[in-house]
């Protein structure tokens, strides 16, 4: 059976639209629109990804800081937060809990901060591998998996010892 949202996202999974309340993808972009890191939980092809990244950058960068952190994009909702020059952008389903995701973004930044110590854009550039690993502890398959900052950092450090 074709996924009813397939027409828009190219997703080949059969998901009932009202049933999927998941994170579709995550983008970490700087103010210039360079995507420092991305994570896709549903399939998109390369050209589609590129298009989405630039469309979202244009939509987000022009917004006033006093505006909402929510933006309806295609049939999804973008929830973003800006930290200095970096935009943390989560794309979720229309009916997801907006503030929950907004604070999840902050939690992600708190974990990064706790792990790197005063995290900055360069940490994301030079230690992209660590960022991916933190993300994989925090989220899995587009769902939230662990929200304890101390536990995630403890797992990260125990694994770092192997390196």
């Amino acid at each position: 059976m074709a996924c009813p949202i397939a027409n828009m996202c190219g997703c080949r999974l059969w998901l009932k639209p009202e049933g999927c309340r998941m994170i579709r993808f995550i983008l970490l972009q700087n103010r210039q629109g360079k995507t420092r890191l991305s994570k896709w939980y549903v399939p998109f092809n390369a050209s589609e990804k590129f298009k989405i990244e630039s469309e979202i950058h244009r939509a987000v960068v022009t917004r006033d800081p006093r505006n909402t952190n929510f933006l309806e994009y295609r049939s999804y909702k973008i929830i973003y937060r800006r930290y200095a020059g970096m935009f943390f952008i989560f794309c979720v389903d229309m009916n997801d809990n907006e503030l929950g995701i907004l604070e999840l973004i902050h939690l992600f930044v708190e974990v990064l901060d706790g792990y790197f110590g005063n995290v900055c854009e360069l940490d994301l550039v030079f230690h992209f591998d660590k960022v991916y690993r933190i993300l994989d502890e925090l989220l899995l398959a587009g769902e939230v998996s662990e929200t304890s900052t101390s536990k995630i950092i403890a797992i990260m450090k125990s694994v770092d010892k192997m390196d």
Binding site: L15, F70, F116, V125, A141
Partner: protein, 908 residues
């Protein structure tokens, strides 16, 4: 700063990243990246000689290059080898790199299955977690088919640590999205969900379980209802008690996301009937709803986290509607009102969205008091329409729409029409649509409806879709008392020297049809009507002009004094380059020469439209597959499945009939051609396997049973089949079982297909297996064509020719067939009969006529029955060659039929 405690042994990677960052232009970056790619390719050519350190370094470099947006075409195998390594550090690099480089590519995923499987069964919790993480994030058909059993084993294993189980449950969810039979509700509840939700120290596990439940239980709430009281107890502990570890407290709020997820799961069920549960739930909701009353939030984060939970609780209360007491509903309204009036944009947005849900509920359940409470804040909502934030404007517009009912329809529509003057571009189409729906829904006052729609066309014509003015025409035609009013209104609208294209269309239609009211009422003369339309002829588009010609033809019949003017126009368009326009002009011109009785018969006033085609009916008409028909075929095939290839009892293979090779035909095209018109046959054969198929079709549904036989003397394992349907042909495939093919044994898999609309392209099947460690891939076409869903119909030749001519040659597809001549006509007849085309041979035995209908599962909104598409086929033969022509109203049906007939006749 960073390096002080983050170990970074990847000096080479650091240098490369620095180099890339130093590039000033994109070209420089490309040059540097290409150089690095060349270097890595060279190193990987002799990967065995590389040290572990270098292998990891180059893998990271490839990942970085990929992240920069460059294509990485090699190195996947090396990365997979890293993941397969026994060394944990290499394994880690391998898995993380695979997660980035491979994306959701199913072919690549196939290559990792063995590695993942051995990690899942290994005793190492570290390897297990890496494998689960990768599988969960990638998902997809390949991994689901191959790894479901292993993932479930880890999930249900009593020894699995909470952190492993947390990953395993989300991994199972990811695979469940592909195959919904994967998770057994009672096992999942008793082994995983209930024990997890009864404790509160591993909240991460709770979060993962609730995340899984909210999807799987949504698909089948009854099967999971045993979890309901457990979720309420958990929520009670978190919201009311203090028994949550401090590490799960977020800015002073106890696990906000666990609360949110738990409330989401509760929302899958109705308000509990059990008195005890109900009391606890009301207690929890009351507590959550008052969370912002007594304390002043310490920070934005705390207030957001509280509000996240609050919004979810409000959703739940709104869902319960009248079942909760009045006090609680008033509390919800009070909170939403507070939200809407706050200056915090996010909260305001949520307030408007919540109020919109509330209004919809109140409309549905007829809660007038709630609607009144919302309406008290009409002014605030109206102001939010002008907010500088587009997201808020959109929510406000939705709320305006939801709070509209009979009582305030005129007021709200008036405000929205006013709003249309200033609305931002991206909301304009939505505003127009909402106005149209509202005044259609509350259109007791028809002149108001006509005026509003005409106003929309005049002021926002570009945003008025075709169906909107078609609906206007429908309403006017069906209501006798509106006709004169609409004619006068549209006449007035046509007066300016330049009007919108849609205005001309609706004006031409209505004046042509009902203009006579104006003439009879002595308001305008016939000449005025003609001039009102004709002044726009110069700049109108061709489609519009066609409608204008039609209006002229209607007018001239009533008012012969227009004859001269109309003939002049018709004559001018008789040589128009637009075929539609030319045809109309010629036909109307010719009709004008006929007697009046005949003309009157042609230009009868339009009859009333069936009411069911209203705006909302049209919106809900969607393709509707009928699962019953699929099941019926299922049952039939199950009873008569037989060992098609006779592999089980005979030691020797019956080879596929050696196809006669002519015209350089490939054997697999010949096999396909045979299977397309036979109920069973061989679809593919090479020195490894033979694939046979048995087909059964009934109306728009079909069931195919595939048999994959191992011809070799050794085991073929990891056998997989993948077949993906599209929107025309829905395909549901069962996995190939068993996935290990023993020597000279066979596996089977079944595929159910449903035709939703005619199609021309074939759907590919990919079959893969591993032979002696090497992967083999076979691509064949699913032997299903548009004619598989045909049911023949026959009528006399004369009848056929009439229908043939009626279709016109615009929808015709033709092809010459050089190798099929008159001498083989009998064989052709047999093939076409097998294709359900019901061929009849003409008396001179030179022309074959066939007719059939394609059955689809899409319900025709007009008739309420599944739609069928008629197809006509005509083949004319001479000695040595013939030509084939197909006509159908649907192009895909015509092309699909033509290619199928051509393919089948190829093997004649």
């Amino acid at each position: 700063m960073v390096d002080a405690f983050v170990p970074s042994t990847k000096r080479g990677l650091r240098k490369f990243i620095n180099d890339v960052r130093g590039c000033n232009t994109l070209q420089d970056e490309q040059v540097r990246v290409r150089k690095e790619l060349a270097n890595i390719r060279q190193k990987f050519a002799n990967a065995k000689a590389l040290k572990a350190y270098d292998r990891k370094k180059y893998a990271w470099k490839l990942v970085y290059i990929y992240m920069l947006g460059h294509e990485v075409e090699f190195g996947h195998m090396e990365v997979i080898n890293l993941a397969s390594s026994k060394n944990n550090s290499e394994k880690l690099v391998g898995y993380v790199a695979m997660g980035v480089l491979m994306g959701h590519d199913e072919d690549l995923a196939r290559l990792v299955i063995n590695t993942i499987r051995s990690d899942l069964v290994s005793g190492s919790a570290f390897a297990q977690r890496l494998a689960l993480t990768f599988t969960a994030n990638v998902g997809g058909h390949e991994l689901t088919q191959a790894l479901s059993a292993d993932v479930l084993r880890v999930l249900y294993l009593p020894e699995s640590k909470p952190s492993t189980r947390r990953k395993a449950t989300l991994c199972a969810l990811s695979l469940w999205r592909v195959n919904q039979d994967l998770i057994d509700p009672s096992e999942y509840l008793s082994v995983v969900a209930i024990p997890a939700l009864e404790q509160t120290f591993e909240m991460g596990l709770n979060l993962a379980v609730l995340g899984t439940l909210k999807s799987v239980a949504r698909a089948d709430p009854m099967a999971y209802q045993a979890v309901y009281p457990v979720v309420i107890r958990l929520l009670e502990k978190v919201v009311l008690g203090e028994s949550v570890p401090s590490t799960y407290s977020y800015h002073g709020v106890a696990c906000p996301l666990v609360q949110v997820r738990a409330l989401e799961v509760l929302a899958l069920y109705d308000f509990p009937t059990d008195a005890e549960l109900r009391k606890t739930l009301v207690h929890i909701l009351t507590k959550v709803l008052s969370c912002n009353d007594d304390i002043n939030p310490q920070s934005m984060n705390q207030s957001n986290a509280n509000n996240a939970v609050l919004v979810e609780a409000i959703n739940l209360v709104i869902q319960y509607g009248e079942q909760v007491d009045r006090e609680m509903m008033e509390k919800v309204v009070a909170i939403l009102v507070k939200f809407v009036r706050l200056s915090d944009a996010n909260v305001k947005y949520l307030g408007l969205a919540g109020m919109s849900k509330l209004a919809q509920m109140a409309q549905r359940e007829g809660l007038a008091s709630v609607l009144d409470m919302i309406r008290d804040h009409h002014h605030t909502v109206r102001q939010s329409l002008e907010d500088q934030d587009g997201s808020i404007r959109k929510r406000a517009l939705d709320l305006m729409f939801s709070m509209c009912d009979k009582g305030n329809a005129h007021e709200i529509v008036g405000e929205l029409v006013e709003y249309l003057k200033t609305v931002s571009y991206n909301l304009k189409a939505d505003t127009v649509r909402k106005i149209a729906i509202l005044c259609d829904r509350f259109s007791d006052d028809r002149p108001w409806y006509v005026d509003t729609i005409l106003h929309l066309i005049a002021t926002a014509g570009d945003f008025v879709p075709e169906d909107m003015w078609h609906r206007l025409v429908q309403v006017v035609t069906n209501n006798e008392d509106t006709k004169a009013y609409a004619a006068a209104a549209v006449y007035k609208m046509m007066q300016p020297s330049h009007v919108h294209e849609t205005t001309i269309r609706v004006g031409s239609y209505l004046l042509g049809e009902f203009g006579y009211f104006l003439v009879e009422g002595n308001q305008q003369s016939a000449q005025d009507l003609f001039d009102a339309i004709n002044q726009h002829l110069d700049y109108a588009g061709n489609k519009t002009r066609a409608m204008m010609l039609h209006a002229y033809a209607k007018l001239v019949l009533l008012y012969p004094q227009l004859h001269e003017d109309v003939t002049l126009v018709m004559d001018a368009f008789r040589d128009s380059s637009d075929p539609e326009l030319q045809q109309r002009a010629c036909e109307y011109f010719a009709l004008a020469q006929q007697d009046r009785v005949r003309q009157q018969a042609v230009f009868e006033p339009m009859p009333a439209f069936p009411e069911a085609q209203g705006e909302e009916a049209a919106e809900t008409a969607r393709p509707n597959p009928t699962p019953e028909s699929v099941k019926a075929v299922d049952a039939q095939v199950e009873t008569q499945v037989e060992d098609l290839l006779n592999l089980a009892d005979k030691s020797s293979f019956t080879p596929a009939p050696e196809p006669e090779l002519k015209f350089g035909k490939e054997p697999r095209r010949v096999w396909l051609a045979n299977v397309l018109c036979e109920p069973k046959g061989v679809l593919f054969e090479d020195h490894f396997v033979q694939i046979g198929v048995q087909l059964q079709f009934q109306k728009a549904a079909g069931k195919l049973m595939f048999f994959v036989g191992n011809k070799t003397g050794w085991v073929l394992d990891q056998a997989l089949c993948t077949v993906l349907g599209n929107d025309a042909l829905e395909v549901v495939a069962q996995p190939l079982e068993p996935a290990v093919l023993q020597p000279r044994a066979q596996s089977r898999f079944s595929v159910a297909v449903t035709c939703h609309k005619p199609f021309a392209d074939r759907v590919p099947i990919k079959v893969s297996f591993q032979a002696n460690g090497q992967f083999e891939f076979i691509d064949v076409d699913l032997p299903v064509s548009v004619l598989s869903f045909a049911s023949p119909c026959s009528f006399p030749d004369a009848d056929f020719d009439q229908r043939w001519d009626a279709m016109g040659d615009r929808v015709q597809q033709t092809t010459p067939l050089d190798h099929v001549g008159l001498e083989r006509i009998d064989a052709v007849v047999a093939k076409l009969t097998a294709l359900k085309l019901a061929p009849t041979l003409s008396a001179d035995k030179r022309t074959l006529r066939g007719a059939t209908t394609i059955q689809t599962a899409t319900v025709n909104p007009k008739t309420g029955k599944p739609a069928v598409v008629g197809v006509l086929v005509r083949m004319t033969c001479v000695a040595g060659s013939s030509s084939l022509a197909v006509r159908a109203v649907n192009v895909a049906a015509a092309v699909g039929t033509l290619t199928t007939v051509k393919d089948v006749l190829l093997v004649l």
